[in-house]
Amino acid sequence: MGAFLAKRFLGVLPVIFGVSIVIFLLVQLAPGDTATVLLGPQATEAAKEELRRALGLDRPLAVQYFQWLGRVLTGDFGTSIATQIPVLDLVLPRFVNTLILTAASLLLAIVLGYGIGFFTALRANSLFDRIATSCMLMAGSAPPFWLGLVLVLVFAIDLGWFPVSGMEDFAGDGGTMDLLHHLVLPAVTTALGPAAIIARIVRSGILDVLGRAHVRVARSKGLQRRDLLRRHVILNALPPIVTITGLQLGYLLGGALLTEVVFAWPGLGSLLYDSITARDLPVLQAATLLIALAFVLANIAVDAINAMLDPRLREI
């Protein structure tokens, strides 16, 4: 397993390098001009030129990129152009908040998706299967923005069960319960779409394995149903399910960024939104790079889990 992980990490290095180039270039596409944004529309061309030189924005893109990469590799992400706060101080706490929302959504998507997928597969084509499958289809195809607003209307404003927005209550104790209370609606909003996709994959994966010859052989051995399902169905169905779950992690992360804006969740999503508006390139770059890194690490974790599950993969 150690060698396997080492190989996977080496394998993603070029990917991360490529990603860093793409991020660097994409961020340049953000609308507006940094000097104009900073100095205001009345600034003279000379003043803007001066600022660009100070920020190094007048050099060729390739030079800018390697300077940026060199600093990033030493952990220096620079200073926010808009707020003059060191980028890491700005980005890291927001990143943690986004991870909290993403992790909660992932957990919810897994519990919902695996549970519903598994039980609908075992009772395929029953009334329960049809109802659950259509509900998941509807929930899964609702746009998260709309879903978030509906949930807020019903559960926060009408019923008053959950807070409308934010991450903590200033009047509250700021403890875990308070956080969880605020977490419910954004997590549900983010999780439902991926949960629906996971449920569909789990259902079809379990059904596929149930039809395989080795399951009938296992039944002919007189195994108890619980052992039969665990060893001969779930174990075999897991690899594609884990892969899809890993892919959903990307969507969850992206979804969380959008949900944050609806629920005023103080994460990277709202920070990204603000820094695009302010054309705060160092912040944008650091935030997107962190997201990409999280994505790559998640993929490695998925591969490692699959290698543990499937002996044939492990030997490659």
Binding site: H214, R216, G222, L235
Partner: protein, 331 residues
Amino acid sequence: MSAAQIPSLVVENLTTRFGSDRDGATVVDGVSFVLTPGQTMALVGESGSGKSATALSLMRLIEPPGRIIAGRVLLDGRDLLTMPERGMEDVRGGQIGMVFQDPLTSLNPALTIGRQITETILAHRDITPAEAERQAIDLLVRVGVSDAARRIHDYPHHFSGGMRQRVLIASAISCAPAIIIADEPTTALDVTVQAKILRLLHDLQQEMHASMLLITHDLGVVAAMADTVMVMYAGRIVEQTDVDTLFHAPRHPYTKALLACVAGIEDDRSVPLQPISGMAPDLKDLPRGCRFAPRCPLVQDVCRTTDPALRAVSRSHSVACLLVQEETAVV
């Protein structure tokens, strides 16, 4: 009555259907037979005649849309078809061991072969996993897997088809079942290993004094291994007798047609069933009268209107043919 005469399995009027009442097919239609301890009964018939469905029905392994709609399967006087599922779990693998057709897909690719044998043992015996593993190694040695102590940790993809079938046989006999059901156990294998696997099954059955239901489409295998034979056609048993009578004095026109294709049979020679002319009937739309009538060279008018029942023509010989009944009436 000596032990050899106490039937180990009595099957009465076993009837299994796939699909709904209106749009479905009765693929096992009133099958009755008796398995005697220490004996091998062969079940032959062309593809789709209901041989596998019969075997799976005995084990109650028919899955929806199929279901057993009638009959009794008596094992030690208990009816398997009405037994609770828990009881059936004890029977499967414990009292009846089953070997399937395709060893390449019959093993779980995600479990070591050792695990796939010990799980059978542990499902039926109250022993430690370590003891089960020792037994698994002994079993593997017994079925001819060399270096067994090391190989139990290997996964199925390291084994050839023949070796996988040996592993599956080891699992099927691990709890010394009184009955072995083998559904075309060598069809998917290389011809060079077919004979070895069959010999292994034969030897194990003799050693354990088990009875065996051997499904095959190879008349050479029938001649070499079986004591008695059932010929199945379109869900029905059409002829049932001992192996000598079958080869030397078959009565049903279908059996005769099968044997005509393989004149002069010798022991241990592989003689796969040859397709006989005409098409097997559609089980969803059976002809009136005898199911074999459309292909029968001896067909009479009465055959197209009257459905023949399986009737004894001698003490150990039953045939489902109207013409044969007339013949015996005269004799």
